[in-house]
């Protein structure tokens, strides 16, 4: 039986889709059978981030409206045979689906997968409600910005009102040097406001942008710090105790030298 996990944020552009693609891939790397659902109907892009846009024949709305079977709409990943994408419809909008449809759809998928990840649209309206409807767990992605944290706080309140398990938090795109200079909210600042459990911290990583444009996910890139952070989050989702990696990035030769002797993982 799959765990259905919705990835959401409130604010747009904080990295929901990138997180969904990376976590889905990372869970598949761990050997799980995974489906990722793009619930952003009318503005699909999870397919692009995963490099699967040229394979779409049927989509989520086709499944819900009975034009195809679920199996026909699921797209197999390029690398991992146990990773599947259910793409959003691009020519429809959020009204094409309701919460009952989404609950039925996710329940139908529970049989066949270990994890079903749902990529939520931004906002707090119908699209968000649909994305959360079938979820067992919710992961909230935020960036260390006041506006994103404020929206995340709103989402936490809504998720709690749906009587879901308390959501867990990914702080994305943190820049350790800016935090050290006091120019960016720290992870502690964010946690102090949101008061929910942290499941991961992803450092800002320019390679993510280039990888995303190529339709490749960061977890496949061994050199990517963000990729490693997503892999850690996937292991935490799977129930492993993974210590939080130190965010300090090496500055010069000396730092790097010291870095070798430091324990590789320390508490944030």
């Amino acid at each position: 039986m799959a765990r259905v996990i919705t990835i959401t944020s409130g604010k747009g552009g904080v990295g929901k889709t990138t997180s969904t693609a990376n976590l889905g891939t990372a869970l598949a790397i761990l050997g799980a059978k995974v489906a990722v659902i793009d619930a952003d109907i009318g503005l699909r892009n999870l397919d692009v981030v995963m490099g699967l846009e040229n394979r779409i024949v049927y989509d989520l709305v086709d499944v819900i409206e009975g034009r195809c079977r679920l199996r026909q709409a699921l797209i197999k990943d390029k690398k991992y045979a146990d990773l599947f994408l259910l793409p959003a419809a691009q020519t429809r909008d959020k009204d094409a689906v309701n919460t009952d449809d989404m609950i039925a759809l996710t329940n139908q998928m529970r049989e066949d997968f270990d994890y079903v990840l749902v990529d939520s649209p931004a906002g707090i309206e119908a699209g968000f409600r649909n994305a959360v409807a079938g979820a067992d767990e919710v992961i909230i992605v935020t960036t260390p910005e006041v506006s994103a944290v404020r929206d995340a706080d709103r989402i936490v309140g809504l998720v709690e009102a749906f009587e879901k398990r308390s959501p867990r938090l990914v702080v994305n795109r943190i820049k350790p040097r800016m935090v050290n200079r006091g120019e960016m909210m720290s992870v502690e600042d964010v946690l102090q406001i949101l008061a929910i459990d942290l499941i991961g911290v992803v450092p800002d990583d320019e390679q993510i942008v280039t990888a995303t444009n190529r339709g490749e996910v960061a977890v496949l890139d061994k050199a990517s710090r963000a990729g490693r952070a997503f892999q850690d989050i996937a292991r935490r989702i799977a129930g492993e105790e993974v210590p939080f990696a130190s965010l300090d990035e090496p500055h010069g030769m000396l730092d790097r030298f010291i870095g070798i002797f430091r324990t590789p993982r320390s508490r944030v």
């Binding site: 006041v146 404020r150 929206d151 706080d153 709103r154 936490v156 309140g157 709690e160 909210m185 008061a195």
Partner: protein
């Protein structure tokens, strides 16, 4: 609150009780006064209207509902033992209930409210009496009370004490730096330069108490020696 109008908060939300024996005209004008005095409190609220045995026809009910609506107050249901009133309510699109449920005891206890959680952005907590919150009031949240507000936590959102018109109401918190603070009909906002949350935290740490002094809301750092009853110089 004495007189023909009373507002109570029970488990099912706010309840507006209109005395069944009072003259209809007096009742309407008393309601008008009450709604104007607490306009901040009522705006956006939903209530159950309890009219006891009074029989209202469609027109009389519409008058009351319009008056409430013009102050942002939305009726969810009507409670009355009169069959005519209930049928008028149904035709106005309200739920109608025959008699008040037996929870007067819990309503009395709800005179002072207690809440243990984080009040998050977009959430509104509304209570007709004093209110104690153990937890934070985050940016974008609203806490509105007819009486005093005491927060054992950080206050960053909007807090409004004395929202039914009580200018003696107090707001205290372990850390009081709201976007906006309101007591009765007075409003005070955070100075503009404290834009970053981290800056704000440095400027006024520690427990503080807000009250009206000389027609203005004054926020003072809590000093244990000072008695909270007297007005500050």
């Amino acid at each position: 609150m004495t007189g023909p109008i009373s507002i109570k908060g029970g488990r099912d939300g706010l309840r507006l009780q209109l005395d069944e024996a009072a003259a209809w005209g007096d009742l309407l004008s008393a309601l008008q006064v009450q709604l104007e005095r607490g306009s901040q409190f009522f705006n956006g609220a939903r209530v159950v209207v309890d009219i006891g045995e009074r029989a209202l026809d469609d027109r009389a009910l519409t008058t009351v509902l319009d008056l409430m609506r013009s102050h942002g107050l939305q009726a969810d249901a009507l409670v009355s033992s009169s069959r005519d009133s209930r049928s008028a309510a149904r035709s106005a699109g309200l739920a109608a209930r025959p008699m008040r449920a037996q929870h007067t005891e819990s309503e009395d206890r709800a005179e002072a409210g207690f809440l243990q959680r984080t009040v998050r952005s977009g959430q509104v907590v509304r209570h007709q009496g004093h209110l104690t919150i153990v937890g934070d009031v985050n940016n974008g949240a609203e806490v509105i009370a007819g009486g005093n507000i005491v927060v054992w936590g950080r206050v960053r959102g909007l807090v409004h004490a004395g929202a039914l018109g009580d200018r003696n109401a107090l707001i205290c918190a372990l850390d009081l730096q709201p976007d906006q603070i309101r007591i009765a009909d007075l409003i005070s906002r955070r100075p503009d330069r404290q834009t970053k949350e981290s800056d704000a935290a440095k400027n006024l740490p520690g427990p503080a108490i807000a009250r009206i002094v000389d027609e203005q809301i004054s926020i003072d750092v809590w000093e244990p020696a000072r008695r909270s009853g007297g007005s500050a110089p």
